[in-house]
């Protein structure tokens, strides 16, 4: 396997009025081609910032990152946004084809790929609707289809299921896994749900807050393809859950003490 993403001593400082926030400090990691990585940490620890840097929406204060490109044609990355990133004035179909249209891909390819991913996420019957007519879960399906249809080198997902109810979340998690199994894209997926991280990832990076650093890395070697039911009942996953839980507990407490001072 080859290295796909390399992050080296990445640091990001924000200035807000006179205050400064060290959002990320000395982040280092390396991700192999085709890996599914979850980044798990308490809110405010810099997860979104890290992803936005990799997405080219924010520049690092210091340090480097590198994403290996295989083909020339492909975009480096596509992001699934935490908030509603589905554009309200575009239909479902137009949203899904957004990246391809912006790249001015051949019309035939746009059509093919768009209808393929519309089908994969079950939105073909709704392709002409505007997002206002969709439920939260359907909107996130649009976001995911849009990212995959763009066929990027890597996928960046920022808590895409955080706002969904449990039922929808389970369904979408499994749908995401099945699309990912087919495409074998490299994915960085941000979450604050331990269950979600265990279900999805090959490795989990645990983050600490203020300043945001990666404190630990947990390998998840449960067999694939995975299903929530199987993962839940696997005793190994229960151990992992506890380990991560303990880590996050101490993290949250520490940061609370830091803030009270």
């Amino acid at each position: 396997m080859s290295e796909k993403i390399k992050v080296d001593q990445l640091t990001k400082v924000f200035f807000k009025h006179k205050e400064q926030v060290m959002a990320l400090k000395d982040i280092n990691f390396s991700i192999e081609d085709g890996e599914f990585i979850c980044i798990l940490g308490p809110s405010g620890c810099g997860k979104t910032t890290l992803l936005r840097i990799l997405a080219g929406l924010e520049t690092p204060s210091s340090g480097h990152y590198d994403i290996q490109a295989k083909g020339q044609e492909r975009p480096l990355q596509s992001m699934v946004f935490q908030e509603q990133g589905v554009i309200p004035w575009m239909t479902v179909e137009e949203n899904v084809s957004l990246g391809l249209r912006m790249r001015h891909a051949p019309r035939k390819i746009i059509k093919e790929r768009t209808s393929m991913y519309l089908k994969k996420v079950g939105l073909t019957p709704y392709k002409d609707l505007f997002p206002k007519e969709l439920s939260g879960g359907m909107k996130q399906r649009v976001s995911i289809a849009r990212a995959f249809a763009n066929d990027p080198e890597i996928l960046l997902m920022d808590e895409p299921f955080a706002a969904l109810d449990e039922q929808n979340k389970f369904i979408l998690q499994e749908e995401l896994l099945s699309i990912w199994e087919e495409t074998k894209k490299t994915v960085i997926f941000i979450t604050h749900s331990i269950d979600e991280a265990i279900l999805l990832s090959d490795r989990i990076f645990l983050m600490t807050s203020q300043p945001g650093t990666i404190k630990e890395e947990v390998k998840i070697d449960l067999p694939r393809p995975r299903q929530m039911k199987k993962v839940r009942s696997d005793p190994k996953s229960a151990d992992v859950f506890l380990k991560i839980w303990n880590h996050l507990q101490t993290e949250v407490q520490e940061s609370r003490i830091k803030h009270e001072r």
Binding site: L57, P75, L98
Partner: protein, 268 residues
Amino acid sequence: MEELSKAVEVEKRDFKRRQRSNRLKQVLTISSPIFMLLIWEFLSQTAIIDPRFFPPPTTIIETLISMGASGELLEHVKVSLIRIVFGFLLGVIPAITLGLIMGMYSSIRHFFSPLIMALMPIPTLAMLPIILIIFGIGEFSKMVTIAASVFFPVVINTVAGVMNIDKVYADVAKNYGANPKDFFMKIALPGAMPVMMEGVQMGQAIALLTIVAAEMIGANSGIGYVIWMNYKAFLIPEMFVGLILISFFGYLFSLLLRGLQSKLIPWK
């Protein structure tokens, strides 16, 4: 089972009640102008209000018909409409373009904002002498007058419309590789459309005000001229015909724009 049919019954009654109340509202909307006209007719016929100044609506309609028959009125209406339509476009198109650019680029916004803020409070009619000096007394100067009055509400609303676009959509466009032209056409323009169209509606109303006033001051044709000349000649029913025409076209334009709005913003 009985419970269910009872529930359905309740809902049905509620639905019918809502339907009835909607119908009542529609009737009220249509009947209020008719009601007013009837009162006017009555007061004027019975000379409770002076029919020399407030001729009864039936007389006004008769006047309208006889004026229309001569063909001269149609000429005035045509002149005004051409001025309004071209003046409107002459103001709206640059306003939207500048507004979008100002909304997208903060340096351009900061450059133009004070100019717009300083020019906006000047009533266009106060500018009429300058416009006449620059553009002469021909048709074009009337269109410029309308354009100038339409420009400000549209440009301001367009800027506000672009600023109002959620930042996440700009991030999405950037992340998915939109070039400046695509960003302009696919994000800024449609995203700003709802607020922008509010400005266009406002501009339409102002355009009508402006043209009538301008035609009253410095023209020898148009609906405003018809009103003013007939007033000076004390031909009051003829003057009212002009007023009614303005009211009619104002209403028509706002209906047309509202139709256009729902075509342009199907996603709202």
